[in-house]
Symmetry: C2
């Protein structure tokens, strides 16, 4: 793929049921990843945006976690319903989605 | 983890033996990831650097692929022997390792 203007990493870490840290997968991150890929395809934004799944980003209890570079914005508790707004506002528009940003204490 | 000054994503994508695209895992990326994690621990650089594994970054035939943000530098054909230099020069020093950078046609 070409070097993207913005690169989204969606944590899809899994852990066994009952694990004390939980996981983004257990909190629905696979559906979030699929929503990002679907939106990417719908918009044919392959030249501008890359979507990649990743391992653990750290603050598991606030997942699903999504980090966007080059800004290094961590979004938490992301749902498929948030993905369109993240595309419009941040990935294309260049402004962070304030309501989804991790707190300064977390990231 | 705290927001890192630099965030390294190591592709650990696997594909079945004989798959036409190959994979970074088949080209040794797991050892590269372990080398990054080992170096992170040795340097106790957890406040400044994050190391995360990821899915496919695109140009599989040049793997193992490693991308470093916020610069968005793609390194290719990375081996465990390269990791110390990437730490010193880029992750701590802030200068890209020119000899490992993907070509402009790739990224």
């Amino acid at each position: 793929m070409p070097r993207p203007a913005r690169h989204v990493f969606v944590c899809t870490q899994q852990r066994p049921p009952g694990h004390p840290r939980g996981s983004c997968a257990a909190q629905g991150s696979t559906a979030v990843l699929q929503a990002f890929w679907g939106e990417l395809q719908k918009r044919q934004a392959y030249e501008a945006v890359a979507i990649t799944y990743s391992g653990c980003l750290g603050p598991c209890d606030g997942g699903p976690n999504v980090v966007v570079y080059p800004e290094g914005t961590l979004y938490q508790r992301v749902t498929p319903a948030d993905v369109n707004e993240i595309f419009d506002t941040h990935l294309i528009g260049g402004q962070e989605v304030e309501r989804l940003k991790a707190s300064g204490a977390t990231w």
